[in-house]
């Protein structure tokens, strides 16, 4: 992953989101050890404290757990937590934005739903 350096999204958030994607893609499985703050720092040329903050966020959300002296590991239900979180926050926020944009463009809700169906069909067709 290339970090987005335009300064709009905090780096620790980008790190935790990248780790979430790695877990969703099953590059890291349950109870597997995840990268240390120093490995992440070196991989992305960032301060180790920033990397630690990204890891800590995932610990607070119970996606990772700490083993004293051994490092951080992927929780058994990590994938489920990430999916629920993204449904609850990211997807809802995106929907709000889509609805607002549709209002601005005077697109009716029916039309909008049809557009979503079409997009879904194209996705499925591929």
């Amino acid at each position: 992953m290339i970090l987005n350096m335009d300064g709009t999204k905090p780096i620790y958030l980008q790190i935790s989101e990248w780790l979430e994607r790695e877990i969703l893609n099953e590059n890291f499985k349950s109870d597997q050890k995840i990268y240390s703050q120093y490995q992440l720092a070196e991989m992305f040329t960032i301060n180790p404290a920033t990397a630690a903050k990204g890891l800590t966020m995932l610990v607070e959300e119970n996606i990772l757990y700490k083993k004293r002296g051994l490092g951080m590991f992927v929780a058994s239900n990590a994938k489920e937590i990430i999916i629920n979180k993204r449904k609850d926050q990211t997807l809802k926020q995106l929907v709000v934005e889509i609805v607002m944009e549709a209002e601005r463009l005077e697109v009716s809700i029916e039309e909008l739903i049809q557009m979503i169906r079409d997009a879904n069909k194209r996705e499925a067709g591929e």
Partner: protein, 300 residues
């Protein structure tokens, strides 16, 4: 442990106060970015910390000692700037060999590897180097010394983009391998911010802000919308930057202390929020007026 303790430090040159009752502390093994406009007092501060000169009044402690005329501080601190005074009689390689005898933790292997990587020639003279090559050589000395307190004052002056990138990576890798306290002053905040843990922002010789870099991005937020709406939403909040867009729209940067509910309401009222980059926040915070260069060109 605090590596640097600064209390009410003032430095007066003639009639100007380069530092004005500056107080802050820097903890061990952190990388701190020292940020400020030209003339904010960055170099003066670093020179006093390095023991190159004394403050006019106030107190500075480096490793709990007064740095001026102090052998312990000199042995454990390295200050790299673009006016390094290397002996002109020595070749580049000889400078490294001599420097190795000065610093207890000097890593000669690292020095030689960097020397070769950046294609220096052992017989060349420091005075014959280009500006960027001088900075690169200084950086090699600064990193290889592995001093407990390492200070880089505008280390990338004259370096091309590729070398700057190499420098940042070398700094980070050696910091991970050998943690130490590092102060980095630079005008390129956007380039160095990912390396930093803390940021110390100087304005007119005073500490203006000293916070973790991660908090800086959330410290302020941009709001754009119809001028009347924006003004209403700003209310009593501290405004850091204002800019008129077109006839009736406005962009404002304010302290980010809105609740999620307030933000949602504002969005529904047609205001858009945007994050503000760290370097922009620093520019706004250190600018002398709320306006900007545009104000110079306003004709009555």
């Amino acid at each position: 442990m605090n590596v640097i303790d600064c209390k009410g430090l003032t430095k007066v040159y003639g009639r100007t106060k380069a530092l004005n009752k500056l107080s802050f502390t820097i903890e061990e093994n952190k990388i701190t970015g020292l940020i400020g406009r030209n003339g904010a007092g960055k170099t003066t501060l670093l020179k006093i910390i390095g023991g190159f000169m004394r403050g006019t009044s106030g107190e500075v402690r480096v490793f709990s000692e007064e740095p001026f005329n102090n052998l312990f501080v000199s042995a454990n601190v390295i200050y790299i700037n673009d006016q390094m005074n290397f002996p002109t009689a020595l070749s580049l390689k000889e400078i490294l060999n001599v420097a190795a005898t000065f610093y207890e933790n000097w890593n000669h292997e690292l020095a030689n590897r960097l020397f070769d990587y950046f294609s220096f020639h052992q017989d060349h003279q420091y005075t014959g180097l280009s500006k960027g090559m001088k900075s690169t050589f200084n950086m090699i000395v600064g990193l290889s010394a592995r001093c407990a307190l390492t200070m880089f004052d505008e280390p990338t002056t004259g370096m091309d983009a590729a070398v700057r990138k190499d420098f940042y990576r070398a700094l980070l890798k050696d910091f991970i391998a050998y943690p130490r306290t590092i102060i980095l002053s630079s005008h390129h905040l956007n380039e160095i911010e990912d390396l930093l843990e803390d940021i110390l922002l100087l304005k007119n010789g005073k500490e203006h802000l000293h916070i973790p870099i991660a908090d800086l991005k959330e410290w302020a937020i941009g709001i754009e919308g119809l001028t009347a709406n924006v003004n209403e939403w700003i209310g009593e909040r501290e405004v850091i930057h204002l800019k008129n867009i077109g006839h009736d729209r406005m962009f404002a940067v304010v302290r980010n202390n809105f609740s999620e509910y307030e933000k949602q309401k504002a969005r529904e009222a047609g205001l858009t929020f945007s994050p503000v980059s760290s370097s922009d926040i620093c520019v706004y915070l250190t600018s002398k007026t709320k306006g900007g260069i545009d104000d110079v060109f306003i004709k009555d």
